[in-house]
């Protein structure tokens, strides 16, 4: 993957120099170990800042919403699908976006790494597709990358961008053999009381910072339902009854739209597992409507169309 460093720079440089785009959005090295950070490049002289490795976790499709400029954006499989959803929903102008596909084998879950380090602080780290080497004050450990990828990556079925204009490197061919809905199945096997207890435990630490919403490309509403005051649909407190409704309604709004990029879970400062709830919505839509979000820019959003053959067993 490191060998692709030049390819991403060349692609960005070419797009900028030939005037195909005004702006390239990619990743650059972050300020702390195992972190990248979104990078906005207008001058082709700056393309050396660009990187691509398993720390490139932000979903950059977020930055395409509401932009007038012509933008080249680096997209992993999930980011591309997010962009496709937003294009299909009329939020991104396909003609103004150059999707530069990245060959992704998954991004690193720093919370998983922290959980095995027992409070020891990483001061320096290197990462490639095989191993993550972390170093601290008096330790150095090698961790197999595949064990420390985000859950969404471990079950990802669309590593290759579904839509792209330029592809960097070879399209990834290997598909994970994990059960995509293992976490959802586990939830489904619980009793209602157990599920309630699970969500109470997860969501009671929510501080309503909305990082989950704000990193999500599909959360582009100009006024989110949680912010509305006339009427105020529900309370803004961090009381469990309020936070629950926020997360439940958000998950409903994302059913058939979420591409399981995992950005919400990664962003949560409180470590809440937000993705499993969303994954359940994805599963329902897949089973009932044979629909997967972000596969085709021409496809109508599943929740905005009615088909005669639609499953209606939930209509009472």
């Amino acid at each position: 993957m490191e060998g692709l460093g030049n390819s991403i720079k060349e692609a960005a440089e070419r797009l900028l120099n030939e005037g195909d785009v005004d702006l390239v959005i990619g990743y650059e090295r972050g300020t702390t170990p195992l972190r990248s950070t979104p990078c906005f490049i207008r001058d082709s002289g700056d393309v050396d800042r660009l990187i691509w490795d398993p720390t490139c976790d932000a979903n950059l499709a977020k930055y395409l919403i509401g932009q007038d400029a012509k933008i080249g954006v680096f997209v992993k499989g999930c980011d591309a699908r997010s962009a496709v959803v937003c294009i299909a929903e009329g939020q991104i102008d396909r003609d103004k976006v150059v999707l530069i596909g990245l060959p992704c084998s998954g991004v690193v879950d720093r919370k998983k790494i922290d959980s095995v380090l027992d409070g020891r602080e990483i001061l320096d780290a290197t990462v490639d597709e095989e191993k993550i080497t972390v170093r601290g004050e008096d330790f150095e450990e090698e961790l197999p990358t595949k064990n420390f990828l985000c859950d969404s990556c471990l079950s990802c079925r669309h590593r290759t961008p579904t839509v792209y204009d330029i592809m960097i490197g070879d399209t990834p061919t290997e598909e994970p053999d994990t059960d995509e809905y293992a976490e959802v199945d586990e939830l489904e096997s619980m009793t209602a009381e157990e599920r309630w207890a699970h969500f109470v435990e997860e969501l009671s630490s929510c501080i309503r910072c909305y990082s989950c919403r704000n990193v999500c490309p599909m959360c582009y509403c100009k006024e989110c339902f949680v912010d509305e005051t006339m009427p105020a649909w529900f309370g803004k407190t961090n009381d469990l009854s309020d936070t629950m409704i926020y997360h439940i309604v958000r998950s409903l709004h994302l059913a058939g739209r979420c591409v399981d990029c995992g950005a919400c879970s990664r962003s949560c400062p409180m470590g809440i597992d937000l993705r499993t709830l969303l994954k359940k919505g994805e599963k329902i839509v897949k089973e009932r409507f044979s629909f997967e979000a972000g596969m085709d820019v021409e496809e109508k959003p599943v929740m905005s169309v009615f088909k005669q053959e639609d499953s209606e067993e939930f209509v009472i």
Partner: protein, 340 residues
């Protein structure tokens, strides 16, 4: 000033003695991180963990707080301001950055003519047991913004972790009162104090000190229209992580909620990073984009607040650096401002 020593294994008993007289809040292991919470027993406190996910702000200026109850009485509307009439409080194991955060919070809520009642009700009866920071993290920068890992500002008793025991430095009368009747302490020896001093020096050395901060406030005064603001905010997604985790962000919203018996007026954390923060009824927003919102947060911390109170509104605790979902690093923003 008295300096004592307590064996680590005696600390739960020490906290238990405090619990007899105070409500005690201490870092507890919340699973994935530490959180400052009320403890019913000294054994619940975990002083060995890293600084809690949220600062002491969440105890003294809670995220959600009822500030007024309103109900219909026989002679019209009756209002009641909830007040804390329970025991005095102790925040136990507060790192110096967060203790300093409370000193700055005092300026915000209580240094003018008006003293904020909900805050002062709690703050006025709260004593702070600080815990010196032996191992500042790479994301910490307290020393760059006028603090210190062994700083004593806002602290009544400072604990220093000496390995098997804590050195206890009693700094104020409140500290004296707290420690009254606590058994199992011995006087610190010269050797104990020398060890604590060495740890302090090592902690200072471990801290990042290359952050250029000299003249930052004055520089910002002339930078309101600087083109820098067009780019520093670009990656910010406008969430509340930095503000909510920050010990020195205090903006709030007030809402009224109907209950079965009347109305509760509730104060909630808010942040200048939210799109609706300054949205006016007319639809006009003086801070319409991320640019103005980022500028506001930086200006408030490093220009407006210092102008008003003579001190930066940042304690260098590093929470925003660690937790920002897109690695918007405030240290980098400062460096960019200083290099304009």
């Amino acid at each position: 000033m008295k300096i004592k020593i307590v064996d680590k294994k005696e600390v739960p008993a020490l906290i238990d003695r405090l619990i007899e007289r105070y409500r005690v809040f201490a870092p507890v292991d919340a699973g994935k991180y530490a959180r400052l919470m009320e403890v019913a027993s000294g054994s619940e406190a975990c002083l060995e963990l890293q600084n809690p996910k949220l600062s002491s702000k969440e105890i003294l200026f809670p995220q959600t707080e009822i500030i007024l109850r309103i109900k219909k009485g026989e002679e019209g509307l009756e209002t009641e301001e909830p007040s804390e009439n329970d025991k005095d409080w102790v925040l136990f194991g507060v790192h110096p950055c967060d203790a300093k955060g409370l000193v700055l919070t005092d300026k915000f809520f209580a240094s003018g003519d008006y003293k904020d009642k909900p805050y002062m009700d709690k703050r006025g009866k709260t004593s702070i047991v600080g815990l010196a920071c032996n191992h500042p993290r790479a994301t910490c920068f307290c020393a760059s913004v006028g603090g210190s890992p062994f700083g004593k500002e806002g602290i009544d008793i400072l604990l220093v972790d000496l390995g098997e025991e804590y050195l206890i430095e009693i700094l104020t009368e409140r500290g004296e009162r707290m420690i009254e009747g606590v058994h199992g302490l011995r006087d610190a020896s010269d050797d104990d104090m020398a060890r604590a001093e060495k740890m302090s020096e090592e902690a200072e050395k471990a801290l990042q000190t290359d952050l250029p901060i000299e003249g930052l406030s004055e520089r910002l005064e002339g930078m309101f229209e600087d083109p820098l603001w067009d780019k520093v905010h670009l990656k910010c997604v406008g969430c509340g992580v930095c503000s909510y985790l920050c010990p020195t962000c205090w903006c709030f919203d007030i809402i009224d909620e109907e209950t079965s018996t009347g109305v509760e007026r509730i104060r909630l954390w808010d942040t200048c990073q939210f799109t609706q923060f300054t949205l006016q009824g007319s639809g006009f927003n003086p801070r319409p984009s991320g640019k103005e919102r980022m500028r506001q947060r930086i200006m408030h911390k490093f220009c407006y607040f210092p102008k008003e109170y003579g001190v930066l509104a940042c304690t260098g605790c590093g929470r925003c650096v660690r937790e920002c979902p897109v690695n918007q690093d405030i240290r980098e923003t400062i460096k960019e401002i200083m290099s304009v």
